[in-house]
């Protein structure tokens, strides 16, 4: 699903120098996923110890219920935002405006529905959602324009919309908390498909589709190429402007979809709080998933694991009974620990000094950069 799709078969390695240099191969994606998955497993074990019924899943009225199902449902928004963020980060960029875009999406959809004469109709919900996504597309275009055409540093360019976007969302909702009564819309968060939460199905489908498109077409390779060495890519004829623009638009769309799910969950939109700090959770998910903030190689599967991890962590805080004052501190400590665990350099430092020669030139890219 991630790094292996478009690679040619390992090949019987013909040619004159058959034996040597196996060590030079790209490390397999499974190996890179080891640490985030391990961290997730540890977190789940902690939860089971605290609450033995944590893994219980009930089937009731044809719907699945249980803590794990909650996690699967609740991780949908972060997963979507992190998905877009993964591609942006792979091009050496960052998108800070995703929270604001999510709020705008929720605002547009809710205001449309609340103002409609047929507030509860499916068509109203559909039109509202598509209008919201169209707005997000435009916002993504704006971000991409600033970064790829005007050439503003991504962190600054998207900061503009991060700040202004909240204001825009408030303008749309007129500063009010807008509530909607539309079952089709709230099903986006609380509905089920074949006993599985609809939000999870949507998120997983978007992730799978993206992974497929990115790795079946050449997009993934070109994104990585631009992220690793922009100048060399330009000289090889890569249209890096188009590619960078595309990933920001995609990120905007993902953020919009996430915003819709969040709004559907509360059946309302609060322009001030919807998707607040979701950009940070998303960036964390990307980093935990093994994509370097320096750009280049990315792992969509890693990001999925990262998003689930973040959501599980939030749940753990409640489940284990950490006092709410210590909530953020606890989260921070866990994130630091995971990032250290992932950094080859930190691992090497922990290891006892029976040193084997490190693979040459593989400068250990510290993934702890964010923490």
């Amino acid at each position: 699903m991630t790094d292996t799709l478009t690679r040619p078969t390992p090949s019987g390695s013909p040619g004159p120098s058959p034996a040597p240099q196996r060590r030079l191969r790209a490390s397999s994606s499974t190996k890179a996923l080891l640490w985030p998955v391990l961290a997730l497993v540890v977190l789940l074990v902690v939860n089971v110890v605290a609450t033995p019924s944590f893994f219980d899943i009930r089937l009731q009225d044809g719907h699945l219920f249980g803590p794990l199902v909650d996690i699967a449902r609740n991780s949908a928004p972060v997963m979507l935002v992190a998905l877009g963020m993964t591609l942006v980060i792979a091009t050496r960029g960052i998108d800070l405006s995703v929270g604001a875009i999510a709020a705008i999406a929720g605002a547009v959809a809710c205001v449309h529905m609340a103002g409609s004469s047929a507030e509860g109709a499916f068509a109203t919900a559909a039109v509202g959602c598509f209008t919201a996504l169209a707005v997000c597309l435009v916002l993504g275009l704006w971000n991409g324009f600033l970064v790829s055409v005007v050439g503003i540093q991504p962190i600054i360019a998207t900061l503009v919309l991060m700040v202004a976007g909240r204001g825009l969302a408030q303008l749309i909702t007129d500063g009010q908390i807008t509530t909607v009564n539309n079952d089709s819309f709230s099903n986006l968060a609380s509905g089920f498909v074949l006993a599985v939460p609809l939000a999870t199905v949507v998120a997983v489908a978007v992730v799978a589709l993206t992974a497929l498109v990115v790795r079946r077409t050449a997009l993934g390779m070109l994104v990585e190429s631009v992220g690793i060495n922009p100048e060399a890519s330009r000289l090889a004829g890569v249209r890096s402007r188009t590619i960078i623009w595309t990933v920001y638009v995609f990120s905007g769309l993902c953020a919009g979809l996430a915003g819709l799910i969040i709004a559907a969950n509360t059946r309302s939109v609060n322009a001030n709080s919807l998707g607040l700090f979701i950009e940070l959770d998303a960036i964390l998910a990307v980093v935990i998933g093994g994509t370097s903030l320096a750009g280049g190689r990315f792992s969509i599967l890693g990001t999925v694991v990262g998003a689930v991890f973040i959501t599980t962590l939030t749940r753990t805080v409640v489940n284990v009974g950490i006092p709410s004052e210590a909530n953020y501190l606890f989260k921070a400590l866990v994130v630091v620990a995971v990032c250290l665990l992932q950094s080859p350099r930190a691992r090497a430092a922990f290891r006892v000094r029976r040193v084997r020669p490190a693979a040459p030139t593989s400068a250990p890219t510290s993934k702890a950069g964010l923490a």
Binding site: R7, R22, R23, T217, A218, M221, I228, G237, P360
Partner: protein, 537 residues
């Protein structure tokens, strides 16, 4: 063929070629590496290699790319830990766990790429991490004075308070050496220090090296330029495929002998090119593939015209900064020209980006392989197919079967090692990276191929192969622009020679038996004319 079985401890008696007649070897080596082996996974990078460094001697470490030179250096500098063998420094056996330990033992290294901070001053760079302190802050004055003393000792006229980035690369390189020497080095390792230097700058570097040698420093010198090895080195150790071939005195080894020892076979390839190039002499007829009229760019090239014909190799000769690279970049649209236009067959246009050029079947391999060619974290296969994929657009991926065939074909054709499409590009040696980049462009089936320093810093085997490939492509009708600092190489390959100087074209000659001194004469002759025209300069 190797002498690896010799027990290094019985040095005086049975060691290979002790060469007792020269002064330094009579002394005790400052560093002895004995029977060093290093294994990466299943690969033996070094197999029982020994190396002796004597004080006051320049020791050349010779071998093709991948012979184990870098691994040997990294074993000595503590970057890699050795699996077996021992390192003796100043009579004591040592074990370097970290680069810092090696440095503390007096072993300093200057790597091929200058690893300094360009926006700090020269003195700050030299004293980085060991600045003289006063009142808890850095004592700038003392720092400048100390740095100035070191620079003076090396005979370098550089203001310690000036910003490093304002100096040319050569000076930066010398500052890097000054920094390395400043830590009371007993051993100085110079890994390809001359690959981006001009002849004058190399002379300056050698002066510094001689000063240090006379002070008793043991210098390890790695270079692909055989002439430079012969000019500066006293002794050499030759490696091949991770094994020791021989230790030799430079004065007792002819260049031909050395090359044979390095590659283990005769160098027929190069001679063959000479004959074949002489045979193809039919260019210049027919319409030009690409024609440039009045191309110029402020600060890099004055108005220049150029014509490229089918099947012709045009060599751009000139010193560093003469405008040869600048012209190449403008031909490709890597930089945009201020004036002038490019004519492809019958179509005229201005090149605004590399894409314009690529769409018109022009290919360009930059002189800066690392910054402008290699995508280090992608695989060899991805690197090779990048240009083709980019011109197809991301929606039309190259089919899997085509990918495999193309990559396999070029790995074999250009003898790329390791022959593994999945190897990460950054782990390849320079020569093999260069071959991958050449393949990247050949896969796009260009009509014009612009190669800027395609053979810089790569070993003689890879060099011969790239030259042979270029000659072969020209014979098949490709039009090639070939740039190299090595005039011999330019002359060997070119049908026509364009001589650049002071950012403009000063001469264009058919290459019918031009010699290096002819070309130098043209460059120098222009200088004389300049002097006559402007006597005050």
């Amino acid at each position: 063929m190797t002498t690896t079985d010799t027990d290094p401890q019985t040095d005086g008696a049975a060691a290979p070629r002790p060469a007792p007649d020269t002064a330094p070897s009579a002394g005790v080596p400052v560093v002895e590496m004995q029977g060093i082996s290093i294994t990466f996974g299943a690969v033996r990078a070094l197999d029982q290699v020994s190396l002796r460094l004597f004080p006051g001697e320049v020791h050349a470490l010779m071998g093709e790319n991948g012979a184990g030179k870098s691994t040997m250096i990294k074993a000595l500098t503590g970057v890699y830990t050795i699996d077996s063998g021992r390192i003796v420094v100043g009579g004591e056996q040592v074990e370097f766990g970290t680069p810092a330990a090696s440095q503390a033992a007096g072993i300093s290294t200057v790597y091929q790429e200058v690893n300094l901070v360009t926006n700090l001053t020269v003195a700050e760079n030299m004293m980085l991490g060991r600045e003289p302190r006063r009142f808890g802050g850095i004592n700038t004055r003392a720092m400048n004075r100390k740095a100035g003393e070191t620079l003076q000792r090396l005979g370098l006229d550089v203001d310690p308070a000036s910003v490093l980035g304002d100096h040319p690369i050569a000076v930066q390189q010398l500052v890097a050496i000054a920094r390395a020497v400043d830590v009371e080095a007993r051993v100085l390792i110079l890994d390809e220090p001359t690959s981006s230097l001009d002849a004058d700058e190399v002379a300056k570097l050698f002066e510094v090296m001689r000063t240090l040698r006379d002070d008793g420093v043991a210098i390890v010198f790695v270079s692909h330029f055989l002439d430079q090895i012969y000019e500066i080195s006293d002794r050499m150790t030759i490696l091949r495929n991770g094994r020791l071939v021989e230790e030799r005195m430079v004065s007792e080894t002819s260049q031909l002998e050395l090359v044979k020892l390095m590659i283990g076979r005769e160098l027929e390839a190069l001679e063959q090119i000479d004959r074949e190039v002489a045979a193809t002499d039919s260019a210049d007829t027919g319409a030009p593939v690409m024609k440039v009229l009045g191309l110029s760019r402020k600060g890099s090239l004055e108005t220049t015209d150029l014509e490229l014909h089918e099947g012709e190799v045009v060599g751009l000769a000139g010193l560093l900064g003469s405008g040869r690279t600048e012209l190449a970049r403008l031909l490709f649209g890597a930089d945009t020209a201020d004036t002038g236009e490019v004519q492809f067959r019958s179509e005229r246009r201005r090149l605004r980006s590399p894409r314009h050029a690529i769409d018109r079947k022009v290919a360009f391999s930059s002189e800066d392989r690392k910054a402008e060619g290699v995508i280090g974290d992608l695989t060899v296969a991805d690197n090779m197919l990048l240009a083709l994929q980019a011109s197809r657009g991301w929606l039309r991926p190259i089919p899997q079967s085509t990918r495999t065939t193309l990559v396999q074909e070029y790995i074999e054709k250009l003898d790329i090692r390791p022959a593994d499409p999945q190897a990460l590009m950054r782990n390849l040696s320079g020569g093999n990276q260069q071959k991958v980049l050449l393949a990247r462009w050949l896969i796009t089936q260009p009509e014009v191929l612009i190669l800027d320093e395609p053979t810089r810093g790569i070993d003689i085997g890879a060099k011969a192969q790239i030259q042979a490939t270029v000659a072969d492509l020209a014979r098949q009708g490709l039009s090639v622009v070939f740039i190299s600092a090595e005039l011999e190489e330019v002359l060997r390959l070119s049908d026509r020679l364009v001589v650049m100087r002071d950012r403009r074209k000063i001469a264009e000659r058919r290459n019918d038996g031009l010699s290096v001194s002819d070309v130098l004469e043209i460059i120098a002759g222009e200088a004389r004319q300049d002097q006559e025209a402007h006597p005050r300069d």
